[in-house]
């Protein structure tokens, strides 16, 4: 059984995928080379047509010694391209994803995969003269030591040295000389800036079998919005027990993070029975400058950035007899089993990021119309009681709704017609005589809901009951009146 890919083999993989699947992939040369001058690339996977889809960014290799994850992401890219092109599904142990699932992901998303963002670190780990347990990149620090912990170098409370974070250059959790002082983290920021459609993010690490979501600086709380990372009144107090501080996260976001995490967990467990724990990052330990906190926090900085659902997955577990080395670098046969389960989890994650309305409406609605619908959701729906509930339903159950629709051509057609008609009402909401929702449309929506309900999971069924209750009172109302 051969072993892990080298950084140059991972590069070869991305180039080969781009050459072999030119219509499906775009090779992205990240703007900055690594400290030791390696070119770093990402691959974008997307089928042709439709420029307004959500983006998913998957990042690996941040911590050099965690050898599994760059191979895992390169393998996922290959499997997605192969399956989409061959009209095939993908099987991972006990979990199968159908050809329709693969198609939904590739047609419905821009999938950005940056499998090895710290090639210098990986080279050092794999070099006979290097160090097998190296964690950081290979930058030159003041005082002569080497390396910054890239997952402490993002611009999220960077200056506050929270929890397992260090300002000492020789430490393994050294946060660098400034936020984004490292070319490797600047490359990730560049991807987020350059592709503002990225709405979902996973930074894949090892080990511990965890699915982690923000925040990482302190316990989450949803009752006091003034306790937030931007409020200087709390500077220096975050991450410390007994200060009364909790990092604010809207309750709906906390629920959404946890729900998506549970779906990923279940898709991982279905492969070979390993049950990952879904929890807030701070439950593991406090940090500042972390990637998932940074990606999620961008939305709150008033720059107009989209909300990014940012996660960290910690792959693999201790080996037999508390074998720590196994956690980071298991024999390759065992690593392949870990890759299978995480690839399954990541496909599930991607499907949760596909926008249902876009997928169902894309054949009939222009890009501008879809943009306007998105604006209606993000600006108006989320501020109104009913609208918020409907947006949450689509966010939480969109993947299941899409799968059910995709499995029934007739139902998909009915949903298309409903979306087109509802979109017209939304798009004309500012007209003097804004159109009203007719009883006939309500009846058609109800028919689609009835069909979905027949095959829905208990969770979706419960959400559909609430939707049906809302539908009873929307006839005769404009779009804005309906979401109140």
């Amino acid at each position: 059984m051969p072993g892990y890919l080298t950084s140059s083999a991972i590069e070869s993989c991305l180039v080969w995928l781009n050459n072999s699947y030119p219509a499906l992939t775009q090779l992205i040369v990240l703007p900055e080379n690594s400290v030791e001058h390696s070119v770093i690339r990402a691959l974008r996977i997307r089928s042709a047509g439709g420029g307004d889809r959500n983006g998913v960014l998957l990042v690996g290799g941040t911590h050099a010694r965690e050898l599994i994850n760059p191979d895992l992401l390169a393998g996922l890219a290959l499997k997605l391209c192969w399956a989409y092109t061959n009209g095939a599904g993908l099987t991972f142990g006990g979990k199968s994803w159908s050809a329709t699932d693969v198609k939904l992901a590739v047609d419905g998303l821009d999938i950005f995969i940056a499998p090895n963002i710290n090639p210098d670190g990986r080279d050092w780990v794999q070099s006979p003269t290097g160090y097998q347990w190296w964690r950081k990149n290979r930058s030159h620090n003041p005082g002569g030591s080497r390396g910054t912990d890239l997952n402490r170098n993002y611009d999220f409370l960077w200056q506050w040295i929270i929890g397992q974070t260090s300002a000492t250059p020789t430490d393994d959790t050294y946060h660098g000389t400034a936020p984004f002082s490292e070319p490797e983290t600047r490359n990730v920021r560049w991807l987020l800036d350059t592709y503002p459609n990225i709405a979902c993010f996973v930074d894949v690490h090892s080990y511990s079998e965890l699915v982690l979501f923000p925040w990482g600086d302190d316990d989450n709380q949803s009752s006091d919005a003034t306790q937030n990372f931007q409020n200087p009144a709390w500077d220096g107090l975050r991450g410390t027990p007994g200060t009364g501080y909790g990092e604010y996260i809207p309750a709906a976001d906390a629920t959404n993070f946890a729900n998506r995490g549970v779906k990923v967990r279940d898709a991982i467990a279905a492969v070979r029975g390993r049950t990952y724990v879904v929890e807030q990052s701070f439950d593991l330990y406090g940090t500042s400058g972390g990637s998932s906190d940074y990606t999620y926090s961008r939305y709150y900085r008033g720059t107009g950035a989209r909300k990014v659902w940012g996660y960290v997955i910690e792959t693999n577990h201790l080996g037999p007899g508390n074998d720590w080395q196994y956690g980071f670098q298991p024999p390759y046969a065992d690593a392949l089993a870990v890759m299978d389960e995480i690839q399954s989890g990541l496909i599930q994650f991607m499907l949760t990021c596909v926008c249902v309305v876009r997928e169902v409406g894309v054949a009939q609605l222009s890009a501008e119309a879809l943009d306007e619908l998105r604006r209606f959701r993000d600006v108006e729906m989320v501020r109104r009681r009913r609208g918020k509930r409907w947006a949450a339903l689509l966010e939480a159950h969109g993947d299941e709704v899409l799968s059910l629709l995709a499995a029934n051509k007739r139902l998909w057609g009915e949903a298309e017609a409903v979306v087109a008609e509802a979109a017209d009402i939304v798009l004309r909401r500012e007209e003097r005589d804004a159109p009203k929702i007719e009883k006939a449309l309500v009846a058609r929506i109800d028919r689609v809901v009835t069909q979905l309900d027949k095959r829905a999971s208990p969770e979706l069924r419960k959400a559909l009951v609430a939707l049906r209750r809302d539908l009873r009172s929307v006839a005769g109302k404009t779009a804005r009146e309906a979401i109140r």
């Binding site: 890919l5 083999a9 080990y207």
Partner: protein
């Protein structure tokens, strides 16, 4: 061993109080949390003997397990070999289905 990294050891760090265990992050060490078979959270780490001393002085229990000397030699694979295996597996799967 790199010249700038002193010999380190894989350790398990425990404390009676979970809050104290969480605070262990403030030492800037290379830590990785995990759950034992009994679902108890421990903090593991890769630390120097000097770090072990600091932790013990601060009231933590530290169990030293093994040095960071590589136990196994890794073999690396060329991209062509790797690709061949992945594609062969996908084709096997396709035939089975």
């Amino acid at each position: 061993m790199p010249d700038e990294t002193p010999r380190r050891f894989f350790v398990t760090i425990t404390a009676d109080d979970p809050a104290k265990l969480r605070e262990v992050g403030r030492f800037g060490l290379d830590l990785f949390s995990h759950r034992t078979e009994e679902s108890k959270t421990e903090i593991a780490g890769l630390v120097t003997l000097e770090d072990v001393g600091t932790l013990v002085e601060s009231g933590y229990r530290v169990l030293v397990h093994e040095t960071d000397r590589p136990r196994r030699t890794h073999e690396y694979v060329t991209f062509d070999e790797w690709r061949g295996e992945r594609l062969a597996e996908l084709e096997r799967q396709q035939k089975r289905s």
